[in-house]
């Protein structure tokens, strides 16, 4: 006896896959080889699904705008912010962050001469591909450049 589900199955067979095949259509046999090919331009990477406006991705920190008020440390639920007393700035560990954007909400930011409104030191970017082998890699720590130079 044919049922609705059977029609559904047949229909599904004819349809294109719903999933976005990211980064390539089929799982590669050798990932390193694939990366090399992509670098040489032999293989095209299928882009991820675009994120919508207002997406909460990796936190971006602009030390120039930071006034050192420590409000972000106070609200951060994951303790992803660290106070750098020597510079009176903060250091942000992306691997601890849970992308709640509370720190962005509280950050007062700084007004440069000639500007009408203060601009926040913290903002959410659209970057979300953050996988890494090392949780302390450069990509996963946002800090003032002086901190790295002086090794604080």
């Amino acid at each position: 006896m044919p049922t609705k589900v059977m029609f559904l199955i047949l229909k599904q067979l004819l349809e294109k896959p719903f999933t976005n095949p990211f980064p390539v259509k089929h799982a590669p046999k050798n990932v390193t080889e694939l990366i090399e090919k992509v670098q040489k331009g032999e293989v095209q990477i299928n882009p991820p699904v675009p994120v919508p406006e207002g997406f909460r991705g990796k936190l971006h920190y602009d030390p120039e705008r930071c006034i050192g008020c420590r409000l972000c440390i106070m609200v951060c639920p994951a303790d992803a912010m660290e106070w750098v007393p020597e510079l009176k700035k903060i250091r942000h560990y992306v691997s601890r962050c849970m992308f709640c954007a509370l720190c962005v909400d509280v950050c007062p930011g700084k007004k440069f001469p000639g500007e009408e409104k203060a601009v926040k030191a913290l903002s959410m970017s659209e970057e979300f591909l953050l996988a890494d082998y090392d949780k302390y890699s450069d990509n996963l720590i946002e800090e003032p450049p002086e901190a790295k130079e002086k090794g604080i």
Partner: protein, 408 residues
Amino acid sequence: MAKSTYYIPVGPIHPALKEPIRVEAEVEGEKIVKVDVKRGFAHRGIEYMGMKRNAIQTLYLSERICGICSISHPYAFVITAEKALGIEAPPRAQYIRTIIAELERIHSHILWLGVIAHEMGFDTLLFWTWKGREKVLDLLEFITGNRINYSMYMIGGARRDLKEKHIRAIKDAIDYYWKFTEHMKEIFLSDPVYKARTRNVAKVSKDIALKLNLVGPIARAAGIRMDVRQDMPYDAYADIDVRAVVPQDIVGEVYGDAYDVTMVRIYEIEQSLDIIEYCVDNLPEGKILAIPNYVALLAKIRRTKGEAIGAHEAPRGEVIHYLKFDGRDGPSVWKVIAPSYNNINSWGPLLIGAEVADIPIVVAYIDPCMCCNDRVAVVKTKDGNELGYTEIRKKCLEKTEKIRRELK
């Protein structure tokens, strides 16, 4: 005498379970004669962590109690905190919160429909339902900024406003889901295979449901008219006359089995669509936060003393939070009761007498969430006695002493 019963352990890590829990069944042939359910594998001590942080941090910690209903715990938390602190959220924020909570119910129910199909070995249905679920996840991502863990609520309001484009997207999704639920009714409820596999399986009578304290769709499928949104309305639910969805209103008779649970869940999606439609059409104007400044909010919490109990109807049943504030900027006591805790109680009675092939359905039909329900871990000594507070404290001190000696 020949051995007639066999022992089948399922879990804590098992392909049929998505989260750690252990079901030990003794079978005689195909029949299950004895069951034991062991839980407590996912206890993380979240409540204790919350009592060390300030209230805003704890609110976002509560979002991490559950991976699927990531707004149910914050919802119960904000309701409780607002009651305890005497803050009232502006009407617009109340409506926005209701919309988000109902969108979450839609995605959670569709998730469950896929899971139950998968447990029956019906994987085409799983992928088809989850394909339909993408739309509401995309919508939530568009409104809140993330697919899961929306970070949308704040004590005394909501953090993001709904703009014109969001409302358009919501209306779009509502149209889509009216069609989709019609489709689901045909595919799930009128399918003979699905019916044969779920009718009279995991059957809960009204008596048992009341005795075991079952909550949410499971209790409603057994014919009990209970729903926090109906019994203790909060936020926008107070303006909408929400009625519990029970099978006797839909088809006129109650079985209380997995088939009825499916029916209740599909009709609840429609109810959610109605609620969202009402909220979107009657969205009040105004601000969205009672105290927009978080520093001022924390200062107010520090000044206020109070305690309260609050509940929210999560997709799986009622979530209850208890909070007590006394002079700190965070809760000094925080207690969470999640619906799966009550619902898992039904496994024992339901599995006895059932067949081995029914285990996945009985386990999945309540949509269990282990990380929600593991609120306590009981430690036992070798001879089976429970370790009390004094012994555990003594052991902690011994361990600290040992580490200290090693570090020297």
